[in-house]
């Protein structure tokens, strides 16, 4: 089964308005999944990570219901059928 990356509405225009992207499970980690996203949608990836490859401060990424901040960060593993959700953190001004 593929790994699914669910996009927030703000990022969907950078993936031809897709709400979700399907990736092969071989991406293995969140980092691998983001790399695969960036190969196809580099503008989208720029919005999620900095030029140093770190997840932006006010972006949260979940694998299933677990935030990768409280797991293994970008090294958090993904397996068949997992859903990676990218969301804007609850913050603003």
């Amino acid at each position: 089964m593929p790994v699914t990356v669910v996009l927030p509405r703000a990022l969907q225009p950078f993936a031809q308005d897709a709400g979700a992207l399907e990736l092969p499970a071989s991406c293995a980690t969140v980092s691998g999944a983001l790399r695969a996203v960036g190969e196809r949608w580099p503008v989208l990836l720029d919005r999620v990570v900095t030029e140093q490859g770190a997840v932006r401060e006010r972006v949260n990424i979940f694998v299933g219901e677990e935030s990768i901040r409280f797991a293994h960060g970008l090294d958090t593993r993904v397996t068949d059928g997992d859903t990676i959700m990218i969301v804007a953190a609850v913050s603003g001004g």
Partner: protein, 368 residues
Amino acid sequence: MDGDVHLLVGTVKGAFILRSDASRTTWSVDGPHFPGESVYALAYDERGGRRRTLAATRSFHWGSTVRTSDDHGATWSGPERQSIRFPEESGESLVQIWQIKPGTAADPDRLWAGVEPAALFQSRDGGESWDVVRGLLDHPQRKQWQPGGGGLCLHTIVTDPTNPDRLLVAISTAGVYRSDDGGASWSARNSGVRAQYLPNKYPEFGQCVHKVVQHPARPERLFLQNHWGLYRSGDWGDSWTDVANGVPSDFGFAMQMHPHDPDTVFIVPLQSDEFRCTPEAKLRVYRTRDAGASWQPLSNGLPQENAYETVIRDALTADTHDPAGIYFGTRSGKVYASADGGESWTSVVDALPAVTCVKAAVVGGMHA
């Protein structure tokens, strides 16, 4: 049409374009562009046959980038890939773009950008792509620079119309740095500028310079609004002289050169670094017409009671008409305009989001 004035207004929630004809009596309001994103830098560039508006946008979540429009804001580029990027080995990541500065008329494809964390980028293709200026990024004093309240930002860029190799920048809080070799090497130029908040009040660097302005007819003479202190230099920043003569406070952020008179400068003093509101609850622009020997308040048409306003470093500007239009925006979302060099003022809009920058463009004229 040619002669129209476009006021490019950046706010914490997007950009607005206020338009008027050359009379500058009535204004239309277009926006918000980039709603929800903060816009701290705007520029208009007519060199090289372009009529390009540039906007530095920052999403609270999704990062910062430069957007361009070649049709006065009807359509905008991208956002494409983040065009201002720190090199990987620097370990730095772009936080915000604080300044976009078109280069000299003789070099029409070059632009400069000042960013946070403090660094200078240059474009050689009209703003399409950008490269970091290594000489400043690798400066040995850089690791000792400290962030001010707005972050460690390079917010001011001054070019020399007579010497393409000379460039001056201001950084909060590092002070003024100047290059005489096109950005390859830089040296601090803060002699005489006070650092009120340090044990050593006159260090080589570490000053919190808020803005530096210059008139192209006298490029060697600079005026500086400091975090406490108003200064003038007659030698490209080699030395600075206090010119806070007759102002209610020498604290403030904004400073603007008159477009036609190299002795005339505008500021908006603020009461203190703790309060940061207009003194005596009066909204007054101060103007010197004798290069800082004296300053006079300009208040005709501005509120003089219960006016606790703040005008930040890029929110005061001038157009290039004669008489000059002077404009400023406030943190409370008001924009004021003067079509007579500051003698009288009118309110253009009064309920925008907090204003971060105001730039005036005369269509078919010179960028301001």
